[in-house]
Symmetry: C2
Subunit: 157 residues, 2 copies
C-alpha cells in the first residue's frame, strides 16, 4: 500500500462506522508517529454548548487506532487493532472544534511487534491522546493501551 | 419536578445533543440508585461488526450523568453535571445491542452534597458503569468521577 493510499483508507474506515460518521471527523495528520483528527463542534456539542465527553473520547480513541493501524500497515501488516483500556481526564471544557492527536507513549519496537504477530500473539501499543483548545490548554487527555491481532498479511513478503 | 416528568426531561436532554442522538439511545431505567440506557448495535457498530468503543464510553458516561442529574433533581437541585475522569476497561467485544447501566460506587451523602452545593462548591460523585452482553459477561466497564455545580435551584425552597 502506498503512502498516498493509506490516509484515504483510514478515512474511509472512519466514515464507514455510523457512530463515527456522525461526528464528522476528518483525518488532519497521519505521520508514522502521530495521527490527528479534526471534527466540528456543531456535530459534537453537549447540553452545555461545549464538546460532549463521549465525542472527545471517541475522537481520541480513533486517533490512537489510526496511529497504530497505519504504523502496522506501513510495515506490511494488516491487523485488527482494538483499544483495551483507557484513562481519561477531562480537564477544561472545550468550546472550539475538536482536534484530537495521538502519539506513541513509547516508540514501538518494530522487531518485537512483528515477531509477536508472526507467532500469533497480540502486540501491544501504549498511546497518549489529547484534545487541545485554541489557546493551547489541554481540554482532555487519555492514556490507552491498544492490542493488535493479525488478520492477514498484505504486501510483499 | 414530578417523578413522571424526570425521565422525559433526561431523555429530551439526550436527544438534544447531536452526537448523542446519533447513537439512538433510549432511557431504559431510571431509579434513584441506577440509570440504564439502551441503544441499537446498528447505530453503534465499528469496522469489526461489534460495538464501537466510543459508543460504549458515550453511553456509559451518559448513564452516569443521568444518574447524578436525576439524583440531584429529586432533591430539588438543578445542577450542571460534568464527568471529570474515567478509567475504562474494554473486556470482550459486544455483538448485541448496547445496554449501559450506571450505579453509585458509594451512596452519595445527601446532607454533605447539599451543603457543598449550597456553599458554591463542587459536589463529587463516584459512579461505576458497565455494558453487559446477552450472556451476562461484562463487555466494558468504567469507573468515573463526576462533579456537579449548581446552576439554579428548582422546586419549592
Amino acid at each position: 500500500m502506498s503512502e498516498t493510499e493509506l490516509p484515504a483508507r483510514i478515512e474511509a474506515l472512519l466514515h464507514a462506522m455510523p457512530p463515527v460518521a456522525a461526528l464528522q471527523p476528518r483525518l488532519a495528520e497521519l505521520e508514522d508517529d502521530r495521527c490527528c483528527l479534526h471534527a466540528p463542534l456543531s456535530a459534537n456539542v453537549n447540553d452545555k454548548n461545549c464538546a460532549f465527553g463521549g465525542s472527545l473520547v471517541s475522537l481520541m480513541t480513533l486517533a490512537g487506532w489510526g496511529l497504530a493501524t497505519a504504523w502496522l500497515e506501513r510495515r506490511g501488516i494488516k491487523a485488527e487493532v482494538y483499544v483495551a483500556d483507557s484513562q481519561v481526564k477531562y480537564r477544561v471544557p472545550l468550546y472550539d472544534d475538536l482536534d484530537a492527536c495521538a502519539v506513541f507513549a513509547e516508540p514501538p519496537d518494530a522487531d518485537a511487534v512483528l515477531r509477536e504477530l508472526r507467532e500469533g500473539k497480540h502486540a501491544s501499543f501504549r498511546i497518549q491522546s489529547e484534545v487541545r483548545r485554541g489557546d493551547g490548554r489541554v481540554a482532555t487527555s487519555m492514556e490507552s493501551r491498544y492490542v493488535a491481532v493479525v488478520s492477514d498479511r498484505i504486501g510483499p513478503e
